[in-house]
């Protein structure tokens, strides 16, 4: 839970995307209508409203062409419009929207995938296809309970639908997908010949690494609400109210450290002797 206290000053008739964004904020922050009064770190408004004197306001923009009001400290927008808004916005842009998907997925960069496949004795091109008819690995069917593994270890994933693309991007796979799926997920353009795109990535380690990172970034832009709220706190300059409790945990969370990672235990252990024990 973030220490942010966010006021809401938007009227009825919200767009679905604004509603989703507010739900993400409410799940992670202390949220209240501005009419309730009190101190807020920032207030979410739409462009036509007017902030109170001295208020720090976040503007929600549905339309990437809409100008950013001068009073806005940051822009909140749906992930699908974030890049377009960020291209011209004079203030930071924070994408927020859909509920998290595949929160347990950990990014595996192409070099790491190579090593895991080597450790598992997986030879061959290791190209996975995912779509409405299921998944395959180098042409062989993948059981349902191994689909995430395929997404995590394939050298390239050819995703034929949005669910496959999102799963693969969550694991930081180099994903090639048709144009409509790419647009839906925000994946980088690879052209329309997916097999050629896959072959090209297989042949170029640098391109593969860059593409994988871009795919994971697209996934985080849409589905990493925790990261978005952390960004918001940074933009607003809000520090944790009790950093001695959460300081190193926040730093570890910000780097995507898994819950059971050894470094968490080491950090906790290093501070153990400084804590009072009852």
């Amino acid at each position: 839970m973030s220490d942010l206290r966010i006021g809401i000053a938007v009227h009825a008739g919200l767009s679905d995307e604004l509603h989703d964004a507010l739900v993400r904020i409410a799940e992670r922050c202390d949220v209240a209508p501005v009419s309730d009064g009190g101190r807020f770190d920032a207030v979410v408004r739409t462009a036509e409203s007017t902030p109170a004197h001295g208020e720090r306001a976040l503007v929600w923009l549905d339309d990437p062409e809409a100008p950013v009001p001068a009073w806005a400290s940051a822009v909140l927008t749906a992930p699908r419009t974030a890049d377009a808004v960020a291209a011209t916005a004079p203030v930071p842009v924070v994408p927020l929207g859909p509920a998290p998907r595949h929160p347990s997925a950990r990014p595996l960069a192409p070099f790491t995938r190579d090593r895991v496949r080597r450790a598992r004795g997986l030879t061959g091109p290791s190209v996975a296809h995912g779509g409405p008819d299921g998944w395959t690995w180098d042409g062989a069917d993948v059981p349902d309970d191994a689909v995430a593994t395929a997404a995590a270890l394939a050298s390239v994933v050819v995703a034929h639908d949005e669910p496959a693309a999102v799963l693969a991007a969550a694991w930081a796979a180099p994903v090639v997908a048709p144009a409509d799926v790419r647009a839906e997920v925000g994946l980088p353009d690879v052209g329309d010949d997916l097999e050629a795109a896959a072959e090209s990535l297989l042949a170029d380690a640098v391109a593969r690494a860059r593409h994988a990172r871009a795919c994971r970034a697209a996934y985080e832009r849409t589905y990493d609400a925790d990261g978005a709220v952390r960004t918001l706190a940074t933009v607003l300059g809000v520090r944790p109210s009790s950093p001695w409790r959460t300081g190193y945990a926040d730093a570890l969370d910000g780097l995507g450290t898994p819950a059971g990672s050894n470094v968490r235990a080491r950090a906790h252990d290093a501070l153990r002797s400084l804590r009072s024990h009852r």
């Binding site: 960069a109 593409h211 871009a214």
Partner: protein, 339 residues
């Protein structure tokens, strides 16, 4: 501006990286800025690998600009962080299969490598700009982390003191006597050199005894000298009086020796797999790029000895290129990237 330069410290070790950090601070100060070095110890074993990055993450760095250099100093957090990357933890990337890397193919090691890649990508991705010391380092950054780095070259230590001199009767190599620097290649090459050219291999390291044994076994006592550590005054004169410099490390990040040789007007003999050295040594123009065998290196030595005028011309071209490097230009580039 107040500038903090961040770097990793390996206690009791002082080499090129430490010199580089000091030189960045000095260059910033000479440009009129307040600059200080902040360095923290680090550990490389996989069980402690993340300790120092986390420590960097927690540091309050109250300055206008932070310049981070090597792993794990780029984990520092600052709104105006610029990275000038010397290298990442190579034992997790390009050198992961080297004997000294403890990251094998067991599940624990695989997860450590995965996590370090994710951490590195995030920490480096925060920077306003990522520079690298060479294209070799930029290529590794792209290959392993999918990130862009811009090569930013800088002058080597002793740049202002190095000078030209006679094309003498020896080839010179100042280097740490360690496996990756391949000083044994030079000793072995000299047994194939028939012209009356000597080799001087200066430096200290774990291969000292091995090299001495090679010299003795090969009967090269009057052809190869191993003077050990050479102080800077002598180093400058050794460069100035050499016919050429042999510098053929394996996959070097940058290679100060190359640039020092050039500033002394000497051509450089290197190997096809020397990494960043190859960004400066152009075969037949500023030196020779060999196949890395003792015979190949010996042949290059013979070619220098057989045509001293050409050797001088190649050295002069190297000097012209290296003379274009300047610390004021580096400072300007680093600070403009932080804006």
């Amino acid at each position: 501006m107040d500038v903090i330069v961040c770097g990793a410290q390996v206690p009791f070790v002082r080499g090129g990286a430490e010199l580089h950090m000091d030189n960045i601070v000095k260059a910033m100060q000479e440009a009129g800025h307040r600059a200080e070095l902040v360095h923290l110890p680090t550990a490389w074993e996989k069980d402690r690998l993340f300790d120092a990055p986390l420590a960097w993450r927690m540091l309050p760095l109250d300055a206008d600009v932070v310049i981070s250099t090597n792993f794990p100093s780029y984990y520092a957090r600052h709104p105006r962080k610029v990275v000038w990357l010397f290298h990442q933890h190579r034992g997790a990337y390009d050198a992961i299969d080297a004997p000294w890397s403890d990251l094998g193919l067991d599940d624990d090691a695989l997860e450590v490598q995965r996590q370090l890649t994710e951490w590195d990508t995030r920490a480096l991705g925060e920077a306003r700009h990522v520079f690298t010391t060479s294209h070799v380092v930029a290529d590794r950054l792209a290959r392993y982390n999918g990130l862009e780095g811009e090569a930013l070259y800088h002058p080597p230590p002793l740049a202002e003191r190095l000078h030209t001199g006679e094309m003498g009767d020896y080839v010179f190599t100042p280097t740490r006597l360690e496996t990756n620097k391949r000083p044994d290649l030079i000793v072995d090459a000299m047994s194939h050199v028939s012209s009356p050219v000597r080799a001087v291999v200066a430096g200290r390291g774990s291969m000292t005894a091995d090299l001495a044994a090679r010299v003795e076994r090969g009967g090269l006592g009057d052809r190869v000298s191993l003077p050990g550590f050479v102080p800077d005054d002598d180093l400058v004169e050794q460069y100035a009086g050499a016919l050429g410099v042999i510098y053929a490390p394996f996959d070097e990040d940058y290679g100060y020796v190359t640039l020092q040789a050039f500033l002394a007007g000497k051509p450089v003999i290197t190997s096809h797999d020397a990494g960043g050295v190859l960004e400066w040594v152009e075969d037949g123009v500023t030196g020779y790029v060999t196949d890395g065998t003792p015979e190949g290196v010996a042949d290059a030595v013979e070619r220098l000895a057989a045509d001293r005028e050409n050797a001088r011309a190649m050295g002069e071209e190297g000097r012209r290129r290296a003379s274009e490097l300047s610390w004021p230009a580096v400072v300007e580039r680093l600070l403009s990237a932080s804006a």
